[in-house]
C-alpha cells in the first residue's frame, strides 16, 4: 500500500511545478482553467517642427538722387509650429533675421570688391519683435503667425555719385531650435 501515496504525491508535485512555471495554467487542485495576458506599450515621439514661408522679395521703387523722399517697402512671411513638449526645460524658438538692422546693397555689375559708390545702405526693421532677441513668436499658437520686414532706403543714400543701375542684397530669416 505504500507505493500508491508516493505516486500520487509525485503527480501532485509534478502538476504543481507545471502550474508554477507557466503564466497560463490549469490548476490541478480545482480543475479550473485560468487565463493570462501580457501587455506591451506602443509609443511614438512627436517632434517640434515648423513651416517658414518664403518672404517675397522687396523691390524698392526707382530712386533719384534729385529726390528727397525716403523709399520704403515691406515684405511679410509666416511661420507655423506645433506646440513644444510641455515637460522638462524648454527654451523658445529663435526666429531671427540676418542682418537685423542694416543691409548693404551692391550694384549689379560692379567690380569686386565694390567701391563705396557702388553700394547703398538700407535700414531693416522687423515686426513684431521680441524684447530680447529676434521676432516675437507665440509658442502656444499653432496657427500661422505673420511677421513683417520693412526696408527703408534713406534719400540721403542716393547721391549724385551713385551710378544708375540695380542694387541688390540678401536678407535671411532663420529658425533655430534650441534642442
Amino acid at each position: 500500500m505504500r507505493p500508491w501515496p508516493l505516486v500520487l504525491l509525485g503527480l501532485v508535485l509534478s502538476a504543481a511545478s507545471v502550474a508554477g512555471a507557466g503564466t497560463a495554467t490549469l490548476d490541478p487542485s480545482t480543475n479550473a482553467k485560468t487565463s493570462t495576458s501580457e501587455q506591451s506599450e506602443v509609443s511614438v515621439t512627436v517632434g517640434r517642427a515648423c513651416i517658414l514661408s518664403k518672404p517675397a522679395d522687396i523691390l524698392l521703387s526707382t530712386a533719384y538722387w534729385t529726390s528727397t523722399a525716403d523709399i520704403v517697402n515691406t515684405t511679410s512671411f509666416t511661420m507655423q509650429c506645433n506646440e513644444p513638449n510641455s515637460t522638462g526645460f524648454f527654451a523658445g524658438l529663435d526666429l531671427s533675421m540676418s542682418p537685423n538692422d542694416t543691409l548693404t546693397l551692391v550694384r549689379v555689375g560692379a567690380p569686386d570688391p565694390a567701391g563705396d559708390d557702388d553700394q547703398l545702405t538700407v535700414n531693416l526693421t522687423g515686426s513684431p519683435l521680441n524684447t530680447d532677441f529676434g521676432f516675437d513668436f507665440d509658442e502656444t499658437n499653432t496657427a500661422p503667425q505673420t511677421f513683417t520686414v520693412t526696408a527703408t532706403l534713406p534719400a540721403a543714400q542716393i547721391t549724385g555719385n551713385k551710378p544708375a543701375g540695380t542694387y541688390q542684397g540678401t536678407v535671411t530669416i532663420a529658425i533655430d531650435f534650441p534642442f
Binding site: W4, V7, L8, L11, A15, V18, A19, A21, G22, T23, A24, T25, L26, D27, P28, N31, K33, T34, S35, T36, S37, E38, Q39, S40, E41, V42, S43, V44, T45, V46, G47, R48, A49, C50, I51, Q80, C81, N82, E83, P84, N85, S86, T87, T142
Partner: protein, 163 residues
C-alpha cells in the same frame, strides 16, 4: 462438541473480523484459504496550459507634422501549449484595429492602426508558436495641433481557455 469442532469454531470467530475489513479472507464454507484481490484506480488530469511570452514594446520613432511618411513597427510573441482535445486556448489582442496613444502629461491623442498575424493557435503541436503585432502611425495623424512629446498606449495580448 468435540475438539475438532471447537477448533474450527474458534478459527471462524477469530477470522471473521479480518474477512470484513481486509481483502484476504478465509472461506469457512470450503474450509480452504483462497487468494483474493481488490483493485482501485489512480487518476491524474493533465490540463491544457500555455506559456505566453511578453511582446516587446513598440517604439515608432519620432515624427513631425511637416513630414509625409508614416511609421510602422512590429513586435513578436510566442504561445506554447500542450496538446489536448478539450479546453482549447484562444488568443486575442486588444484593442483590435486601432489604438489611441495619449501624450505624456497631456490629453492629446494620435491613433495607431494595429494589425496582427493569424491568431489561431494550432492545437496539434506543442512547440512554441509565433505571432506578430504591427503598429502603424499614419502621417496624417501628426498634425500641427499635436504638441511635441511622447505619446503612449497599451496593447494587451490574452490567452483564454474555452469553457
Amino acid at each position: 462438541m468435540n475438539k475438532t469442532c471447537a477448533a474450527l469454531l474458534s478459527l471462524f470467530v477469530f477470522s471473521s473480523p479480518l474477512a470484513s475489513a481486509g481483502t484476504a479472507t478465509f472461506d469457512p464454507s470450503t474450509s480452504a484459504a483462497t487468494p483474493t484481490s481488490e483493485s482501485f484506480m489512480v487518476q491524474a488530469t493533465i490540463g491544457r496550459a500555455c506559456v505566453l511570452s511578453k511582446p516587446a514594446d513598440i517604439d515608432l520613432g519620432t515624427l513631425y507634422w511637416t513630414g509625409t511618411s508614416s511609421s510602422t513597427k512590429s513586435t513578436d510573441f510566442t504561445v506554447q501549449c500542450n496538446v489536448g482535445t478539450s479546453g482549447n486556448p484562444t488568443l486575442s489582442v486588444l484593442p483590435s484595429g486601432s489604438l489611441a496613444l495619449t501624450r505624456t502629461n497631456g490629453t492629446e491623442q494620435v491613433t495607431v492602426n494595429l494589425e496582427t498575424s493569424n491568431l489561431s493557435i494550432d492545437n496539434t503541436v506543442s512547440t512554441a508558436q509565433s505571432f506578430s503585432i504591427s503598429a502603424t502611425l499614419p502621417a496624417t495623424q501628426v498634425t500641427v495641433d499635436k504638441p511635441a512629446g511622447t505619446y503612449t498606449g497599451t496593447v494587451t495580448v490574452s490567452v483564454d481557455f474555452a469553457p
